[in-house]
Structure formats: structure tokens, C-alpha cells
Symmetry: C2
Subunit: 287 residues, 2 copies
Amino acid sequence: MRDFTQGHEWLSINTATVRKQWRLDRIVDECARRGIRAISPWRDQVAAVGLEALARQLRATGITLSGYCRGGFFPAADAAGLAAALEDNRRAVDEARALGAPCLVLVVGSLPGALEGRPLHRDIARARAEVRDGIAATLEYARTAGMPLAIEPLHPMQAAERACVNTLEQALDLCDELDPARSGALGVAVDLYHVWWDPKLAQQIARAGRDRLLAFHVCDWLTPTRDLLNDRGMMGDGVIELRKVRGWMEAAGYSGCAEVEIFSEHWWSRPGEEVLDTCVARHRTVV
Amino acid sequence: MRDFTQGHEWLSINTATVRKQWRLDRIVDECARRGIRAISPWRDQVAAVGLEALARQLRATGITLSGYCRGGFFPAADAAGLAAALEDNRRAVDEARALGAPCLVLVVGSLPGALEGRPLHRDIARARAEVRDGIAATLEYARTAGMPLAIEPLHPMQAAERACVNTLEQALDLCDELDPARSGALGVAVDLYHVWWDPKLAQQIARAGRDRLLAFHVCDWLTPTRDLLNDRGMMGDGVIELRKVRGWMEAAGYSGCAEVEIFSEHWWSRPGEEVLDTCVARHRTVV
């Protein structure tokens, strides 16, 4: 297992972590200043600074991507909506490619309208079928672009609104169905916030193996957790056994970054410098 | 599949649903007034009115139990804590028996101290081992008392504080390990609030079968859900496919009550009469 205590060459910052403090260009500069070598940006943040400008800044700073956030949200109420989602995912693949991302992370979506509090139907099996079909179609395009797709299982508490893929096993079943050859074109993003509770976590990480483990996200689960979306904890402040699970990841062949992704009203209210410094410190001490 | 639209003989009220409005003796009377034939009471509510008094009132009204809430909370920080939990579970078995309950529901517990916001360790595998051992020990006692134990998988968002058994599959694996003969002494309580999201739900209900399906709890999942504990919805107000899953339960052999269990600041703030009347109406229209 790699030693993280002496440096942070394997640290990546998911840029949502400081999205309320800084624009993306400032985030990149602040990461570079701290010797942070990788980020994972969100599409809206990229759009705000411009794709080409960001690509230039990445080249200038030497910062690379650990992933690109995000494609997905495949289910829709009608055929036009399904087609629009596929078109949007093709654009996301193109952007990820332009930025040299190692994978496009998929938050797959679920019941149409649920995110706005007005679900148009309750048929989660239908949503799951649309997700499978949407990934299959996007995978064809992504293969030609050479862009791996990383299915991210989301916590079951987000099953209605954000993702109807809710366990690592379910994500890997999709991978086996759509990419039985384990070509490297389809895999998973293991975000411990979403999967830490799973009694089959160790087993499924081993099942995934090097070919399927495309990304690894860390933060922590607070007790109590006060909000279903924006109350993630800083590594070390909660109950997730980060180092133990990183050991499972590495035993299965994962050798990429540990990407810090914290959606938190608390951390968004702190100075960005403090947040990044804390990420660097905790990466060494508890990840 | 049974027709619930014409009556409510299979409706049970988990008495937590109106715990903030009424004492348990009043709840029993209000249920009897509406022709509700079953309840599932909590130990603290029973203690407040007295076990013997409640037993008399149940005989007088003809109301039976669909379950008794609850045993469990097996993990502890030390041997004394583990022993105390077993002693408490034996008392719960005795109370369930005195009230003629068909099963004692187990909310198994998880990281010691987490419920109080101060987890004493993060080793969920240790908690799961203590749960297995605690159920095994309690099962020996419960068999002699003739009281079936129903393991209730809790939603993964409650995995740190309340229960480290978080899927129906995990609960059934425990049943298979501790009661391989499917004697009827050990089974599961299927609370749809906790398991509705599970992609393996239909498969695992079928696996459970009549011998293991000891209780069936209903409410609904709201979008958005604003609290991890006390924001359950009334049946029909959320996204759970209640009737579809009841069909799976009945196809697997379940023929007991649909028990309404709603922890909700909203419904606790309404008149108890309105809550019970709404439960009766929704039981007919959407369960």
C-alpha cells in the first residue's frame, strides 16, 4: 500500500469542494501553489472559465485531471428527453477529452422531475432500464473518443432524485452487461461517502479489479448527518475507515488518486485556503 | 393479491406514528373506534401505561399486535455493555410474549456511541460481528419463549447510528447462518422506507419466502426528504411503489398486516384523529 504520510502526490481536489469560495481558475492556481497535482472539475465550473482557457491553464501549471464531473442523468419522461440526455452526454465526453481526463464520471439520474420535487412517475425499474440504455449508447460514442466512463453508485438516500444506481454491485453488474470484455472503456467511481456502509464493499472492490476501478473519492460520514446532500465531513471527522478501504482498492489494483469531494455548507463557509490546507493535511494523516 | 380497497382488516398502526399526540392507551382506543385491528407498540410507550394494563386493554378491544418494537442494539464498547444488551433483549422477548406479539422486531444497532454523536470506534465489521453474536444468543432464549425475531434492515443513511444491517440480503444472510432450518424462529421485517431503493428487493423478498417474512411496514419516501430520521411520508405522498411491492410480498407467501410506521414531524404536528383517518384512507387507496 502506498505511503501517503510523506507527501500528497496522489491527492486530487474535486473542485466542488471549494466551489462557493472561488472560480475554477483561482482553484487551479491555489492547487498549484500547494503542490496539488490533480483536480476533478464540474462542467458548470468549466463553462464559467471556458474550456480552452482551462486547458491552457492546466498545461501551464502541470495539473492533470483525476476525472471529469459529470455525465449521466439519462432517464426522462419522453423520447425527446432521452435523446437530449444522450446529446448532452456526448458533449460531456468531448469536454472530458479536450481536458485530458482519464474518465467521465456518470451520475446516472433517476425518476424524472424528482430533483425538482415533482416526480413524473415512480417506476424506478423503468429509470434503471433507461440508465442501462443510456450508458450503452454513450459507451459507443465514448469508445470512439477513447474516453472511459465511470459509473458512480450514489447513496441510497439519493436514489429518487440523483441516481438509481446505488450499490457497487449494481454498477458492476451494469459493467459486466455492457462491457463483458473488461475493455477498460467502462468502470466505476468508488466514492466512499456513497458506499462506505455496504456490507459487500470489500467483496465488490475485489470483484471490480484494476480494469474497472477508475476513480476513488474520499470525504467522511458525520454522526449526526444533518442534510441528505450538503453535510459531508472532512476526512477524519466521521466514521468511514478511509485507510482500510484504500487498502482494499490498492489490493485490487487501483493506483490512482484519492480525490477529495466534499459537499458541505460548513466547509463552503470557510476560507478556501483553509479548506485546501486541511485537505492536504488530512490526506497525509487519515487517508 | 388481497383486495385492500374495501376495508382495512389488514391495517396495523405502528404506535410511533401518533406517539407525540397520545399515550398508548388512548391510541388503542382510537384504533378500536376506527375498526383498526392491529397495532405495533414501542417499549417506552408500553412502559408508560404498564404492560399488564395494556394486555387487558388489548383483550377488551380485541386488538392484536403485528409486532413489538423493539429489541436489538447489540454492539457495545465492552463486555459489560454486550451483556447488558443481551439482558435487555431477553426482557423485550418476555414483554412481546406477554402481549401476544407475533414477533419481536430487531433494530440491531451499530457503532457504540454514534447515536449520541460520539462514536467510540469506526469498525463497522466489529459491530456486525457483535450483531450476529447478539442475535444468536437472543435467538436461543426467544426459541424457548416461542417468540420469533424479525431483523429489520435499516436504510444505509442510518448505518452508523442505528443499524449496521442495511439490506434485505444482509438480513437474510444472517437468517440463513443462524437458522438454516428455516424454523420460523428468525426472519425479517420489511420496512419499505428502508429498502424501497434496493435493486435486489424483488429478488430478496422471493428468497425470504413465507417462513422469513415476519412483518411488512409501509409509509412513503418524500422528494425532497429533509431529515434523515423524522421526515417519512404518508403512503401516496412519495415515490415508493407500495402496491407493487405488496404484490411481491404476497407472491412470496406473506399474508399478514401492512403496518403503517411514520416518523414525521409533520404528522406528529397534526391531530391524531386526522393521522389515523388518513392512514385508513390511504391504506385503501394506495397500499
